[in-house]
């Protein structure tokens, strides 16, 4: 690739050399960032998968419970029982900085102090299946929250890794070779200029000597 769009001057050469040093350092740093992000990401993904399996199983179990309860009590009765929830949750979302990615951290609070205070109905008119279903759902709830946290972190980190990888590749395969090429071009050009100046001087000197010699002989 001929580097034609650079001025072969010493100033340009110094500038490019500085840029190359910066690019190399940036490349190294970004590569380290990418590797560390990747390590954490893979750990997180593993946890994500485990949690997901657990949560999916738990929800399926709860759904079975609800279906059973509906079969026993009738769907209207189940709906009525859960119509006015006693409990209410709110989450406190803060963020944690992992290698410049802000990942969320959720912390949930229930309105009533007792976290197991989830049964919004009297036990007289409802079937025990409903209790089982509700409590099995309550059991997976902490995992569900953790899943939300982990899955969101994974998505954000994946995006960041992709971006970092692009940058690393751009530096490694485009910027750094480009600078090296340009520096090489300028060095060669400057050397060439120097040689041609040298030759010109030699020629001029030859001419001067020849002129003096001829003049001396003509006198005789």
């Amino acid at each position: 690739m001929p580097a034609t769009n650079v001025n072969p001057t010493r100033m340009e050469l110094t500038r490019l050399k500085k840029k190359l040093v910066t690019a190399r350092r940036g490349h190294k740093l970004l590569k380290d960032k990418r590797d560390e992000l990747m390590r954490r990401f893979l750990e997180l993904v593993k946890e994500n998968k485990e949690l997901r399996l657990k949560v999916e199983k738990g929800i399926a179990e709860a759904n079975r419970g609800f279906a059973l309860a509906e079969a026993v009590m009738g769907s209207e009765a189940v709906k009525t029982a859960l119509l006015a929830p006693k409990q209410s949750v709110s989450v406190d979302a803060s963020s944690k900085n992992v290698m410049s990615v802000n990942v969320p951290v959720f912390d949930y609070k229930t309105r009533t102090a007792d976290k197991s205070d989830i049964f919004s109905y009297g036990y007289v008119s409802t079937s025990a299946d409903l209790d089982t279903a509700v409590s099995s759902l309550a059991k997976v709830f902490p995992d569900m929250l953790r899943l939300a946290e982990v899955e969101k972190s994974c998505a954000l980190m994946a995006a960041e890794i992709e971006k970092t990888r692009r940058r690393v590749n751009a530096l490694e395969h485009v910027m750094i070779p480009d600078y090296t090429e340009k520096i090489h071009y300028i060095t060669m050009k400057l050397d060439e200029n120097e040689r041609s100046t040298q030759i010109r001087l030699l020629k001029v000197k030859d001419m001067v000597i020849k002129k003096n010699y001829d003049a001396k002989h003509a006198q005789k």
Partner: protein, 102 residues
């Protein structure tokens, strides 16, 4: 303080009301998109969405996945597990690593 919500068809999400989540019963894609936007503005940090519904509003979820909040998490509904949630996890691995290695 942020809220948590569960959206999807009635049978799949009404149980979450017992835990204190806000439940919304939606089955249409347009309705769901509107609802997700509203929840986003109302300060919901976590939205659980049934896989069936998530399938319909994929582009909306892709948009949200870039933002730090809210976290939209697909969960299986009563009609069974479509494997979409797991697929999403694998997709993020592919995005990050370049191939599915886990």
């Amino acid at each position: 303080m942020y809220k948590m919500a569960a959206i999807g068809d009635r049978a799949s999400v009404y149980g979450f009301a017992a835990l204190g989540l806000d439940t919304y019963f939606v089955t249409e894609a347009d309705e769901a998109k509107k609802l997700i936007r509203r929840l986003e503005n109302d300060g919901a940090a976590v939205i659980y969405i049934t896989e069936q519904l998530a399938e319909l509003v994929k582009d909306e979820l892709a948009r949200i996945s870039e933002a730090p909040l809210p976290a939209v998490i697909p969960i299986p509904g009563v009609y069974g597990n479509t494997g979409m949630g797991m697929k999403a996890v694998n997709e993020s691995v592919i995005k990050a690593v370049g191939s599915d290695i886990v």
